[in-house]
Symmetry: C2
Amino acid sequence: MQFQISEELIKQVKHLIQTESDDNLRSMLNEIHFADVAEILGELSLSKATYLIKLLDSEKTSEALMELEEDFRERILENLSAKEIAEELEEMDSDDAADIVAELPDDRAEEVIAKIEDEKRAEDIKELLSYGEDTAGGLMAKELVKVKETWTVAGCVREMRQQAEKVTRVHSIYVVDKEGKLKGRLSLKDLLTAPAKAHISDVYIRKVDYVDVDTEGEEVARIMQKYDLEAIPVTDRDGILVGRVTIDDIVDFIKDEAEKDYQLAAGISQDVEADDSVWQLTRARLPWLILGLFGGLGSVFIMEGYEEALAQYKELFFFTPLIAAMAGNVGVQSSAIIVQGLANDVVKGSLFNRLIKEISLSLISGVTLGILVIIFGLLDGMELIFSFTIAVSMLFVIIVAALIGTFVPIILDKKGIDPAIATGPFITTSNDIFGIFLFFSIAKLILGF
Amino acid sequence: MQFQISEELIKQVKHLIQTESDDNLRSMLNEIHFADVAEILGELSLSKATYLIKLLDSEKTSEALMELEEDFRERILENLSAKEIAEELEEMDSDDAADIVAELPDDRAEEVIAKIEDEKRAEDIKELLSYGEDTAGGLMAKELVKVKETWTVAGCVREMRQQAEKVTRVHSIYVVDKEGKLKGRLSLKDLLTAPAKAHISDVYIRKVDYVDVDTEGEEVARIMQKYDLEAIPVTDRDGILVGRVTIDDIVDFIKDEAEKDYQLAAGISQDVEADDSVWQLTRARLPWLILGLFGGLGSVFIMEGYEEALAQYKELFFFTPLIAAMAGNVGVQSSAIIVQGLANDVVKGSLFNRLIKEISLSLISGVTLGILVIIFGLLDGMELIFSFTIAVSMLFVIIVAALIGTFVPIILDKKGIDPAIATGPFITTSNDIFGIFLFFSIAKLILGF
């Protein structure tokens, strides 16, 4: 049933813009959901997209603007006057408006805020900009429905009708005292079913989950998920109700966090997308490659140190990429599980038990892989003592790699550093060097070169 | 403000269970949110947790059960009678109840369903079980508020009060025709503000997003995110309204999908957690390690083929872990960006442009890294022609690795295979072999051995 943006439709829009058929464009696009308008804008050139934004009602375009890629939006905004941007902002929810202003250069941001006619709105935006980006204050919107505990249900319904006009979705009605301190909440359902003459103080729910403006975004997401909340009120440091965070912002937040972790694990250090410029992508990727290069050069050094074994045991050197790959793979597996476990708070029990578990795990995998190496050695015509040496060294490398993969994230986490940094290239690189060093040390011990 | 589960509290609960102080336990735990009760249960032994589940009201425990780890929940359910499970199910939302039944062994599931007193509820559960797990039908709940388009607003409010009792949260009121076909929706806000005598047909919104029971979960998530929906109605194949999917289920779905992708990228093939058994973890990890082992053995073969170069150019062999690491890292970076781009639908433009982009990217990175290798060579006392050879070969390896990392996921996606499989060990292993082969081929060409 979903609306599908066809190439046909895009062509038609482009044609209508070229012929400046404004009425046709308006009647055509006003029927369409803003998220679809955003998709259409994304398919147009900058000048055509700007043309459409200027043409259509701010009511529609303001929401569509929010859905666009940040880069594209910025370039469109560069083509709008401060007044035009201010008009878009007046139609947005306050949290979205603040996000847009935050993307503008400082002097332009001031100019835009000065052009906002609704003073309350301008103040709200300034307030929201004063909080940290990843805090409840930075995520919240100012729009909400609040009532005083002394009111009657009938008075409350009257007041609510008025306030609700400005609020896209009413999840809960918040109850405050004379000073504006958060006291509890009331569902619309409760309001519908309560007698009209009852006082709010008789019907409202006194238990209400809330966060304060300084609560970290991650913590807000955790609480909202744990308690299955669709909105959570936000108070200032004195308990005064100042805003609310809604679940759709949290959905975006969760997605962003997951994508960042995924990219970190793949060795990409900034939030980039497939369609970003070559320069942006290089900046995000090159540092990790340089780290990997130094790791590889470390291995070169180690092997130079064992050069004297080359004549008799050249096959050892053929196995180094295999050893490095095993150390890397095992390390990434262990660290990924621990990093995820730490994020979901399921890493329990003593460190000693975890040690035993990782060692058992690596023993099972290492012995299995070792047997396969010995079978390969027999088929390849290697001496048994030689393939045995490789299997045993590999077993030790796997155990140590698993321990590094497990305990580096745990230690980082205990020190308050994001353990997600310790997956991907970081763990593969350190395990590569360490694995190759261990491999040659053990081989030397057994073969005695 | 959040409730914090202290060790003190857990101790106290354990003590109260041991002394069978049922009244104290009830009065203490009835005050606590079900999500916190779930956390307490998770800290108890199986027998103590079962004791609490049997003691407390089903109203509280049914929701707490849903929050527990699946394994622990299964073991608790094994200790409950079919009748006791049926009682828990009667208190749950239908989608949660169906999920629980799906976890039970077949014969026990039938037994439990037979013990459910509410026949409508039993039927709902059976219906939900008939849909695929990852479809709208499998995600939806049967609870919703629906009204007929011929009713008046006043009649609708009356009916709604009755229906809403069974529905935890009312997002929208759905409007259906005589046959039950979905016609549109109405917000509670609209209902509050419409005149009592108006007919629903005069006030409802005819545009409503919906999915049908067979729509894939991923598509449901995409639509709900794109259009910022908090609930979406689900129809059967004839357009009859049969349920609704709410955003909290989608949040869980998004998180699960992100975790699966993350694990796939790390070479973990099943949904495992840090606290799963050694055996479960081995089953999820070992297959990827075996794949890596075969890749490593492939490199051994390739190097055996270049054995004659060993005497003169032994340093080439010292560089193989570095080449393998570069090929792997670049491949993982490229594939991660493409896999994420495909998931977010931002991979646009022609394949040729993408080719040019990846090649430019790898040229920049490859030349930078090559210069570093030459500098290292100078410091390490290598011949210039030799370090130059390594730098040039590495440049080619990086370009090819980036192309493999980019186009393998794109091809898989075009063929309808989940491109997420093509990150991590898969791309590192294939790039290892390919990189080492290419490295020696180019070195041979330049050095002529």
